[in-house]
Amino acid sequence: MARYARLYLRYLEQNLKSLMSYRLSFLVGLAAFMARQFLGVAFVGLVFAAIPDLAGWSREEVLFVYGFAQLGRGFDHMFTDNLWILAWRMVARGEFDRILVRPLPPLFQLLAERFQTDGIGELVAGIAVTAWAAPRLAFPAGPWSWALGAAAVLASILIYTAVKLALASLAFWIKFSQSYLFAAYKMADFAMYPMNIYPKALRFVLSWALPFAFTAYYPAAALLGRESVAFGIGGALAVGLAATGLSLLVWRSGLRAYESAGS
């Protein structure tokens, strides 16, 4: 474990060095993701200037869910962004060979190879929005609220990473699976707003098929006392662990199916 932590830091160091030589890129990427979050908040603000509540949710509650949705997403974005590259070109161009010839677990190498600073923009915006909304609501209700919140963010990271890993692993069979990831990420946009504005069938899909509802809505509702903690947080953790297990199975059989590109 200590060895992997040390290795990860070495990878990180290399990543940060290359960032230093592209300082403008770094700032532009950070600005892009913060701008997106800021405009999302502005959207909610413009809408709530015209209506008192959204399907029973106040402006503060909607922003709490919205901000909370960015936390797990931002963390996942920082640490597992290389999965997008896997889905895009690593298999198709045979670049994955490089990883297989080194004496470290392939998944560790893949994730450690890329640290995406753009995710910091999402995370900072998420923290800012949540921190603005929380004191205006019943959060925190007690010291355990923070523990529950941390558990919920962990569950959210697990779900994002699992969906990404499973879909990116499809590239081992079909070479290019970025379009699948793109579609799944669009589905994740549903999770930023209260689920009760959607029809039942869609809610079912978002809860049990692509479980993005557990990345923000259910846990946030539990933290605000609108859902039971057992379902909102416990359920999110259970779904997160199950999804992670499944995605690791897909990844493993994908590794066995991998054939390098000929040239």
């Binding site: 403008l24 890129s25 532009v28 997106r36 413009l46 504005i197 869609l202």
Partner: protein
């Protein structure tokens, strides 16, 4: 100039896109999802307002506005910026400058191919599904005509705008970041998510000085029947102004920047 020579670039682009049908299906799906999120959100917003008007919009008008906004966005969504930026970065622009074809015209026809493809393959299914999900749209012949004219103007000014955006690759290497910021900002200021009537007065004053409203808001308002005769004439005139202004500005930018292109040998 014979259009036939350039039309080949359009045909080429469409054929390339058709070759990747399976992937395109998922992009289409992503687009439909995005439309649905907006639609359910607005339906809940109107239910919250007691079913009345919000900032002058009824739910039916809002549905018409959003559908027209989605259709407009995909019909103008060519990537002239990406074409230009890629060629600047990989150096192919040198070869293309040497060819006996006008560079901007050639890019235009490739861009046009993408727009055609996106309008038909991407936006039609999204529209059909939104209609099936309960969005009702009533539109008359004259509104459709106004929409068509406004869409054509929007398409033209948007091309010049995108072409100029691609030229930023000469100035910076992080084009991906620049495009990302641009997409987010223009998506918001063009009225694609929220009609501009929802913005506070000071913001609307500022936006009147920018070309973004002419890209999506005007055709969508025309389709939804939210512009009276005089308002429509004025909005179309503003669009016409931006077509000319951006055409001139992009020619200027092209002429002054192309001299700075330096291509790595190899």
């Amino acid at each position: 100039m014979s259009a036939g020579r350039y039309l080949r670039f359009t045909r080429n682009t469409v054929q390339t896109l058709l070759a990747y049908r399976a992937n395109v299906l998922f992009y289409i799906f992503g687009n439909i999802v995005q439309t649905l999120v907006l639609w359910y959100l607005w339906r809940a917003i109107f239910a919250g307002a007691g079913g009345g008007r919000i900032n002058g919009f009824t739910l039916g008008e809002m549905a018409a506005y959003l559908l027209a906004a989605v259709a407009t966005q995909s019909a103008i969504s060519g990537s002239a910026d990406g074409i230009v930026a890629d060629e600047i970065m990989d150096g192919n622009i040198a070869v293309n400058l040497a060819r006996p074809l006008d560079y901007r015209t050639r890019v235009f026809f490739g861009h046009f191919g993408e727009c055609l493809y996106n309008a038909v393959v991407v936006s039609l299914p999204a529209l059909v599904i939104a209609l099936a999900a309960g969005a009702s749209v009533g539109s008359t012949g004259s509104r459709l005509a106004a929409f068509a004219v406004s869409l054509a103007l929007s398409f033209t000014l948007h091309f010049f705008y995108k072409f100029m955006l691609g030229l930023t690759a000469i100035l910076t290497t992080n084009v991906w970041g620049v495009f990302n910021v641009e997409a987010v900002v223009s998506g918001f200021l063009s009225g694609a998510l929220v009609p501009l009537a929802f913005f506070p007065d000071w913001a609307r004053g500022a936006m009147a000085l920018l070309p973004f409203a002419s890209m999506v808001s005007v055709p969508a308002l025309a389709f939804a029947g939210k512009l009276s005769g005089a308002e429509l004439a004025r909005a179309l005139a503003v669009q016409g102004f931006w077509v000319i202004a951006l055409a001139l500005f992009s020619s200027w930018a092209w002429n002054s920047l192309v001299k700075r292109v330096s291509v790595n040998g190899g």
